[in-house]
């Protein structure tokens, strides 16, 4: 994970002659990082690896401590070229990022489409607004859905769900879904079940 940089092809080129034996080329094959390699940020202050990782990162020429340049982010790779041209290209999901936020430092990869690196939670709603939200949702659940309330008050749908629940509306929604499921055939149902099963493996890391 953090602090380990793969040697590129130039490491071989720069390798000394066989006579000079005090040189180790570290070039492991591509693999997912091990979860047992704790990232630098997660190491406690007194841990010895912290200092060593910082030193390794500094030696690798990273612009900032703890951040070594991945091989794919080297300036000559296509990913870096695509990022240099702005949105589109390889990272098609990153369109709009550059216009919304100031471009991050060049070494960081692009964010996903819905992710805003500068987003901070606002905590801006007052008690009166929360009461208003509650009243609207309970009075007319069909008109004021979670999404509608989230758009109106500038919060997330999850927050609306925390503030108020409309049991009738929830029951109706559940019934509607059940009716839809009942109309499914075997293929569709099994495909859905398989998808849910696969989704469980995401969080189990299988």
């Amino acid at each position: 994970m953090g602090g380990v940089s793969r040697a590129g092809a130039d490491a071989y080129a720069a390798a000394p002659a066989p006579g000079a034996a005090d040189h180790v080329v570290f070039n492991p094959p591509s693999a997912a990082p091990s979860v047992h390699h704790t990232p630098l940020k997660f190491l406690p202050r007194q841990d010895r690896r912290r200092r060593e990782l910082l030193a390794a990162a500094a030696a690798a020429g990273a612009t900032e401590p703890g951040r070594a340049a991945a091989a794919v982010e080297q300036p000559s790779t296509p990913l870096a070229a695509a990022r240099g041209q702005g949105a589109g290209g390889v990272a098609g999901g990153a369109e709009g990022t550059a216009s919304r936020t100031p471009a991050p430092a060049p070494l960081l990869p692009p964010t996903l489409r819905r992710e805003d690196p500068n987003y901070r939670r606002k905590y801006h709603l007052t008690r009166a607004q929360v009461d208003e939200m509650r009243r609207l949702r309970l009075e007319d659940g069909h008109e004021w859905t979670r999404g509608a309330l989230a758009r109106r008050f500038g919060c997330s749908e999850t927050f609306v769900g925390i503030v108020v629940r409309n049991p009738e509306r929830g029951e109706a929604h559940r019934k509607m879904l059940e009716d839809a499921y009942r109309r499914w055939g075997r293929k569709k149902r099994e495909a859905k079940e398989d998808r849910l099963r696969r989704r469980e493996t995401w969080v189990r890391d299988l």
């Binding site: 390699h37 704790t38 010895r48 900032e64 991945a70 982010e73 070494l107 996903l112 890391d205």
Partner: protein, 451 residues
């Protein structure tokens, strides 16, 4: 990872590497006994043969080479008859060791101690486990007597199993918590279960080559595990004697804090299956119900195996001391491979990670696309990293952006929870008189992420 001797033993997924114990032939000679202070307060005691805890069965042997018995007179009557939990027809007591016909012991609930030394099975088991010679074969035979077979606490393994179970639970918890100080409680429970859970100890019993007798009785081979087994098809789902305030509400949710307070070292309910207990104890105290019961309650093979392995550890501690017990536990339990990263299961990893970064005052986590291939094909692969500020916390690959992002968040959380300090001093390693080992305090974490 499928290693030999492993099975699906635990609730999440794990594999345990079998520790190959080098079997060597133990030399059987006269045993030097230790006196247990809690059993024989104020009495100087040198038993001639067998376990000192088998005081009730000891015949008075005139042979001076076998040692002598000095016991207070109040204890003497026990040597002629079976103390408790014994059928009236068998009040004549244990026969002398000079008539070792198995049929003579048919009236006893479990094999008598004095046939242990002649049993090839026991000698083989003793050798296979590389038990020290200070561990008498008679005690090994007592470890093989479950409380369901012989209700008398003087002859069954309940007391040894209680001690051994506590020792195993303590040393595993110490081993795990010092090496992974940030583990969540649920993972700690799962790790305990993976190391010394009933399923694992049951498999350990099989690996040791210990088989079960079909039914308890005095005539069975003393090298077999004797237990009264439950009838097939018995409902074992509901438990009584759990110590919980509302134990009749068996379908109530059990949260993690209450598991820590009420339940056992695996977060499972204590007590026995309700269908096996004739009259549940009114107080619901578990510890007392396992010791002196008048009527034996049947057990499953797994429970009998668990109490046997625990009893061996407990007896090891009593006879051979702390150091040998530590080595035994390490050789048989802690040396097994356990993949801690497979014990985790998150419900909402991304939200957990946000809370974690809040708590630790890190920048909020942001998912970034490190690389991708085949976005418009049938099998795209995305590699997403979760970054906090400029630091990458975790990385995951998946067939969709959402999958890769979730996997990256899981990897980041595991990176946090699976932090392992470089220098670890487990508390038990500096106990005793080791002057060369110095206690260095371990890292203590503020706790898991509460959402």
């Amino acid at each position: 990872m499928n290693l030999p001797g492993s099975g699906i033993l635990v609730r999440v997924s794990r594999s345990a590497e079998m520790d190959h114990v080098i079997a060597e032939t133990a030399t059987m000679r006269l045993v030097k006994m230790a006196v247990l202070a809690f059993q024989l307060a104020g009495c100087e005691y040198q038993p001639p043969v067998g376990d000192q805890t088998c005081l009730g069965y000891l015949p008075r042997v005139a042979d001076s080479s076998q040692g002598t018995l000095h016991a207070p007179s109040s204890l003497q009557p026990q040597s002629s008859q079976r103390p408790i939990g014994f059928s009236p027809s068998s009040s004549s007591g244990r026969p002398p060791p000079s008539s070792p016909s198995p049929d003579d012991f048919a009236h006893l609930p479990s094999p008598p101690y004095n046939v242990a030394r002649d049993s090839p099975r026991l000698a083989a088991l003793h050798a296979r486990l590389s038990l020290p010679t200070r561990f008498p074969v008679e005690t090994l035979q007592r470890c093989l007597v479950d409380a369901s077979a012989d209700p008398s606490p003087d002859f069954n393994n309940a007391s040894l199993a209680l001690l051994g179970g506590d020792l195993l639970a303590y040393h595993v918890a110490e081993h795990v918590l010092c090496r992974y100080p940030r583990l969540p409680m649920a993972v700690l429970f799962a790790a305990q279960y993976a190391y010394v859970g009933p399923a694992v100890l049951s498999q350990l019993r099989q690996e040791w080559g210990v088989e079960l007798a079909a039914a308890p009785g005095g005539e069975v081979d003393p090298g077999l595990l004797v237990a009264l087994r439950v009838e097939p098809g018995t409902d074992l789902s509901r438990r009584v004697g759990t110590g919980r305030p509302n134990e009749e509400k068996h379908n109530w949710r059990r949260g993690m804090p209450s598991r820590i307070v009420y339940d056992d070292e695996f977060g499972d309910l204590k007590g026995r299956a309700a269908s096996l207990v004739k009259s549940p104890p009114p107080g619901g105290s578990d510890g007392a119900s396992t010791l002196p019961v008048s009527e034996p309650t049947p057990v499953t093979v797994e429970e009998a195996s668990t109490s046997f392995v625990r009893a061996v550890v407990g007896a090891m501690y009593l006879h051979c001391g702390r150091i040998s017990t530590l080595r035994f536990i390490y050789n048989h339990v802690l040396s097994r491979a356990l993949d801690f990263s497979s014990l985790f299961s998150f419900t909402s990893p991304r939200r957990d990670l946000v809370r974690l970064c809040d708590r630790e005052d890190f920048d909020p986590p942001v998912a970034r696309l490190i690389s991708e291939t085949g976005r418009h094909s049938r099998h795209p692969v995305f590699v997403v990293g979760i970054y906090s500020g400029r630091d990458k916390l975790g990385e995951g690959a998946g067939g969709s952006l959402n999958e890769a992002r979730t996997r990256a968040a899981v990897a980041a959380l595991k990176g946090w929870y699976l932090y392992s300090p470089m220098e670890v001093t487990v508390p038990s390693s500096v106990e005793g008189s080791d002057k060369d080992k110095k206690w260095i305090p371990n890292y203590v974490d503020p706790g898991e992420v509460i959402v």
